[in-house]
Symmetry: C2
Subunit: 255 residues, 2 copies
């Protein structure tokens, strides 16, 4: 059997620590192709570059591994990999990350890491986004390696339901021993922004977006609860955003 | 009863024709606040500006209506409106658009118009994204006005289920008479990109993203089918991306 082809991307940029660790793990499983942003792209969600041009350069960031840096978003990287670099092959797996920071709950809609994974799932490529709940550029990933490896092995062996991308979040190392893995749903929560207003050297006002996470869930079957309790969380996600259960109600009101 | 407060945004930019039409309609229903991007933001999905600064300026684009232009994405605009401009009020309705171009099916994940609407729904604000299936900057919206008005009236009167944003798409005028309104689901489809490779004046390669829409659905209860058959489509959407129906299956495989 030929080795699986694994496409690796991220949103922190091609020289971040998290993607280097992910590439090293994936190289144990198959042939690796890296296409990742040339600069940090956090918070880019599912953005694509349609009103502007894209650059794509071959790099030698990873020893012995075919890799490209792209001027665009994480989703641009996946699209270039699928439809430009790989003309006659489809990846057997897409992995994104390891993100420096949490992508649980509502953060999935803002996450470039998870948008890249979903862009694989849209093309029926099994896909996993990995995130560590630690924003530090030099974060310690050592406790997560065996979990990234075992989740990857199981997905390669058993596959995933069509159109599904896994959103995997992993507790920071200082939280102590990991209790296990929980497959769960996205918690109900939202961010409430507090814009930090400043004045530039020319007297003009500008803002930094900042804010707090507001947890609005009572359940214990969600990713925020499980991360707080030191589990690794796996939320199966999909690009179908239809609220199917309100269609009939709205037919009565709006048709 | 006091007039409802209606927040208006878009992704084509504050001087586009579509937002001007939308503002005129909303002014019939209530007090209007406009916060919209200062430049086109198509394809920005749910991107937010976290690694860079934001600018926000009061404008006089709309006669007698409080309005601001923002340097960021459509979602940035909604966040600034919710948490900076409106400190003691919550909008009764958020409308986004009218987009110059189609946002049916999978296009919702790339759409700045719909991301802005969903950003309202995340905060439990009833929200509607309106899109015209015509990309022209001078598109003719005249046939859609009565539908935008009637859908808005019904949502203001009857409300929406909590956390739901409506994705409304409307056929281009040259398609002929509109047959009615259909509440339906997002069609199963994907974009397949064909990157247009060019060479800049300095000999460097660059790319434009282009591509084709691949329709993969057999049903007649979806938005692509209904638009083709000249209905106005309403897809209720939500920010919960969990694939709930595969959680149990994946617990067996991955826990």
């Amino acid at each position: 059997m030929s080795k699986p082809l694994i496409l690796v991307t991220n949103d922190d940029g091609i020289v971040s620590k998290g993607i280097r660790i992910l590439v090293d793990i994936m190289a144990k499983f198959g042939e690796v192709l890296v296409v990742a942003p040339d600069s940090p792209q956090s918070g880019m969600g599912h953005a694509i570059t349609v009103g502007n041009t894209l650059r794509l350069y071959k790099t030698k960031v990873f020893n012995g591994i075919e890799s490209y840096q792209c001027s665009g978003t994480p989703v641009d990287c996946v699209k270039l990999a699928k439809h430009h670099i790989l003309t006659d092959r489809t990846p057997d797996l897409l992995v994104s990350g390891i993100n420096h920071g949490t992508n649980t709950s509502i953060s999935i809609v803002y996450s470039g890491t998870m948008a890249a994974a979903l862009e694989g799932a849209i093309d029926d490529i099994p896909a996993i986004g990995f995130s560590l709940c630690d924003y530090a550029a030099d974060a310690d990933f050592s406790h997560t390696l065996k979990y990234v490896e075992s989740i990857t092995r199981q997905v390669l062996e058993k596959g995933l339901p069509t159109g599904i991308a896994l959103n995997v979040n992993m507790p920071a190392i200082h939280k102590g021993p990991i209790k296990g893995v929980k497959v769960c749903r996205q918690a109900h929560a939202r961010w409430k922004e507090a814009f930090d207003e400043r004045v530039d050297p020319y007297g003009g006002k500008y803002f930094w977006m900042a804010g707090d996470f507001h947890y609005l869930d009572n359940g214990e079957d969600n990713d925020v609860w499980a991360i707080k309790n030191n589990y690794i969380t796996i939320v199966p996600t999909q690009a179908d955003m239809t609220a199917h259960k309100v269609i009939l109600e709205l037919k009565d009101k709006l048709e």
